[in-house]
Homo-oligomer: 168 residues x 2
Amino acid sequence: MIFTTKAEYGVRLLVELGRQPSDQPVSLKAISEAEGLPLAYLERIAALLKKAGVVAATRGAHGGYRLARDPAAITMDEVVLALEGVVAPMACFIDDSTSERGVLCSHTDDGGETCATKLLWMRVHGGVLRALAGTTLAELIAFADHGPTVPTAATISGAPPPALQSHL
Amino acid sequence: MIFTTKAEYGVRLLVELGRQPSDQPVSLKAISEAEGLPLAYLERIAALLKKAGVVAATRGAHGGYRLARDPAAITMDEVVLALEGVVAPMACFIDDSTSERGVLCSHTDDGGETCATKLLWMRVHGGVLRALAGTTLAELIAFADHGPTVPTAATISGAPPPALQSHL
DNA sequence: GCTTTTCCGACCGCATTGGTAGGATTACCC
DNA sequence: GGGTAATCCTACCAATGCGGTCGGAAAAGC
C-alpha cells in the first residue's frame, strides 16, 4: 500500500518552489539538480500540477514554474489527487465526494449485498483524506526549513525523532 | 494508492468465518463459492492469516479454518499488515514502531537533509493506522449483518448512503 | 538565430499483482 | 485400508503499471 513516486517528487517540487524567495519562475532543470530527480520525469509531473492549477508555467528562456497560489492555500489532498489520479484505498473503491452519490464498490451491484469491507475502506479513506486535507504546503515548507534542526546523527538513530513530535 | 485484493479478500474471508455461528471449521471451498473468489488464491491468503495467528486450520476431511480469537480482539491493523506485508504510504517509508528508531526515509542518510515530505507521510501513515487499529473484526461482522438494511436501490444511487453514516 | 525553457507523445524494461497448475500431506469415514 | 475432502506448498504465468528515457516541437528571451 503505497503512493507512487509521483506524489513524492511532486510534493518535493512544490516545496522547492515555495522556498524560493522571489516570485520569479524556477526552471525544472535547477530543481532536478538540487533534488537529484530525473528531469524528463519531473516535466511530466509538473504538467500534472499545472493542469490542476497548483502551479503556473512560463515558457522560453529564463522561464520555469512558480506556485499559482499562496502556499498556505494549497492543501495536499488536491496536490496528491492531481498527481495520483485517484486517492482510494482499494481498486473497487469509487470516490465520489464530487459526484453526489454514496461511495460504492464495483461489486455492489451484484445483488444488494454491500461487501463487508466497505466500512473499513471508508474509514481508511477518511483517515488519509483528513491527513492530506489538513496539511498545507506552507507547513511542509516551514518544516523543511526549521523542522529538522537536529543535524544528522540524532535524526537517524536515537528514539522518537525530536523535531517531528510537535508537528503531528 | 491502493491496497491490493489480498487485503480485500482476506477481510472478506475473516468476516465470513466470523459470521459462522458455531466454532466448527469452514472449508475454503465453501467460502470461495459464497463470495465468488478463486479457491487457489484464497488458500494462499488464508496461509498468511494463519501464519499471523489470526486464524487456525484443521486439516483433512471436514476440516477448514476458524478464527483463532474473539472477533472483538482482532483489529484490522494486524490483519492488513499480515496480508500486505507492510503498511506504508511510500516506498521509501520504513515503518518501525517495533524497532525503536524514528521513522526514516531511505534517502535521509545522504546528508542530514530530512526530505520535506516526511511530515506529510507521517500524518497519512498515522491516519491509516488509526483507522485500521480502530476497527475490529466484530464491527465489520455486525456491519455486514445489520448495516446495509437498505435493500438495493437506495444503496446504489441516492445521496449519502444512509446506513453507513452512523458507523463512521 | 541561438539558446533556454516548457510542452508532448511514443517507447521500454522491470517488478508486482492476480491467478493457475499440480502435487504432497493430513485426517475423517466406510 | 482405500476413498475422499480438506489444508499445504512450490513453481509458473499473463497482464498491468511504474519509473524512466528519447526525440522533437513550440515559445520566449538575448
